[in-house]
């Protein structure tokens, strides 16, 4: 004899399950580990189901799930993130280099540097970013979410999303450049 799933269960499957890919991708990029990403997503959905009654139907389900995942991630890796990530402004500022008139050459340099990078190296560089920058880079550049969605996920103003994305990209670029130079992927200029 088959038992009908409850209305609660049906609504959970209908509303929450379609977003597993988004959460999994974020978890994977944040943990940079398949098993940890699996655990994190499962944990998120179990918590979401447990507290499904507290979810206000019709509100932003993705943001709600994302916040559960984010909190789970922070708790799980509390040791690593006990102190907020800090990035010295100089780290970012120093990435600015005078452009001069040599833009075309600069483009060639970029292509020669980053063209030789493997996807794993790019992935690792993203994984090395501080959490707040990594999150916006993942959500905006890989998940292709809008600034508004990311702001809702992170519960911060649009301007913060934009500035974190800007700084995150600069930081990432700096790390990739450094990596490329260290590994001889580009000739020292």
């Amino acid at each position: 004899m088959k038992t009908q799933p409850s209305e609660r269960q049906q609504s959970f499957e209908r509303e929450a399950l379609p977003h597993t890919d988004l959460l999994y991708n974020y978890a994977l990029r944040m943990t940079n580990n398949l098993a940890d990403a699996d655990d994190l997503v499962q944990e998120t959905y179990l918590k979401a189901y447990r507290f499904w009654d507290s979810y206000e139907q019709g509100t932003n389900i993705r943001a709600w799930l994302f916040r559960i995942l984010k909190n789970s991630y922070i708790n799980r890796y509390r040791k690593e993130v006990r102190e907020p990530d800090e990035v010295e402004y100089d780290d970012v500022k120093s990435l600015y280099t005078p452009g001069g008139e040599g833009t075309a050459d600069q483009k060639d340099l970029q292509e020669s540097m980053f063209g030789n990078l493997l996807d794993d190296e790019l992935t690792n560089a993203i994984a090395s970013l501080p959490d707040e920058f990594r999150t916006v880079v993942i959500l905006c550049d890989i998940e292709a979410l809008t600034y508004e969605e990311v702001a809702a996920f992170m519960e911060c103003p649009l301007g913060t999303v934009r500035s974190r994305l800007h700084r995150g990209r600069k930081l990432l670029r700096g790390r990739l450049t450094e990596y490329a130079r260290q590994h001889g992927l580009v000739q020292e200029q």
Binding site: K2, T3, Q42, S72, R169
Partner: protein
């Protein structure tokens, strides 16, 4: 648009989020200012690189299966199926065995995650009045559904042994079982009787050890055992039975300790794990 304003617009420009008017001003400044144009090109090329190289990952089917299974289990202990997608999903020949493994894994991962609220020793739930075999099975359920959580989490037997030392009144068995990883342990009192709980991970399954004072159990003051179990223990030192959900329960005594083990595997397999590890150093 000056250089400072241009800098603020670089990211939205890369992402195509500038209004028509701002886009025109931005383009005009970029044409006239090589330094700003360079900054824009750097960010644009990096964003393009990420988008070209890294595609969003898809959640593995096993994870999805585990989520579904856990919600089904949470809703009612007996998984039910309804709705075409789920029926089809469960019809897949490999889904049921995978679910069985992932189910226990996922639930216990939640239970033993570091942020899980620690339950005080006095608040651990038990089934009052049932014999120790049923209690073992119920406790295993409680471990899986989060009622019982470890008060010490460590894969080092010595750490867990230190946690129990001097607190139980009987030696606690913390074996080094092959292919098993120690998860942790906890202590509680049940009507004045001190109980010890130890949990192991075995692949995707869990092995739960429930221990008490042998003398108290044998006297049957608070916990008691069936006649059949008592006979087996007297005769062979071991007793095996099966929990309602099919998990194996093994009871045995050693010195001043009464032990019960529960795991979702056949009893011979479980006994082999325990017997092999039952060495003096494990106590």
């Amino acid at each position: 648009m000056n250089c400072r304003e241009f800098s603020h617009c670089i990211t939205p420009a890369v992402d195509g989020r500038l209004s028509g008017k701002d886009q025109a001003l931005f383009g005009e400044h970029a044409r006239l200012c090589p330094s700003c144009r360079h900054d824009y090109e750097e960010e644009r090329s990096l964003a393009a690189l990420i988008r070209a190289r890294l595609q969003p990952a898809r959640v593995p089917e096993g994870v999805l299966a585990s989520i579904l299974a856990c919600t089904l289990q949470s809703e009612s202990r007996l998984p039910s199926v309804s709705g075409l997608s789920i029926v089809e999903f469960f019809r897949h020949p490999r889904v049921i065995p995978v679910l069985a493994c992932l189910l226990s894994f996922a639930v216990v991962m939640v239970v033993f995650s570091r942020h899980a609220p620690r339950v005080g020793a006095e608040s651990v739930g038990f089934v009052t009045g049932s014999d120790i075999e049923h209690q073992s099975a119920s406790n295993y359920e409680a471990v899986l559904n989060g009622t019982i959580v470890p008060q010490v989490v460590s894969d080092c037997p010595e750490n867990v042994r230190t946690f129990f030392r001097g607190k139980t009144g009987f030696p606690v068995f913390i074996p080094a079982m092959k292919e098993c990883t120690l998860v942790g342990g906890s202590i509680n009192d049940y009507h004045g009787m001190r109980l010890a709980h130890v949990l192991y991970k075995h692949g995707l399954q869990y092995i739960y050890l429930y221990q008490a004072c042998r003398e108290s159990v044998m006297k049957g003051d608070t916990l008691h055992i069936s006649h059949e179990a008592r006979n087996d223990l007297d005769r062979t030192g071991w007793h095996c039975c099966t929990a309602p959900d099919g998990a194996a329960i093994v009871l045995w005594v050693r010195g001043r300790t009464f032990c019960a083990a529960v795991a979702p595997m056949n009893s011979e397999h479980l006994m082999a794990h325990l017997a092999e590890a039952d060495v003096p150093g494990a106590w």
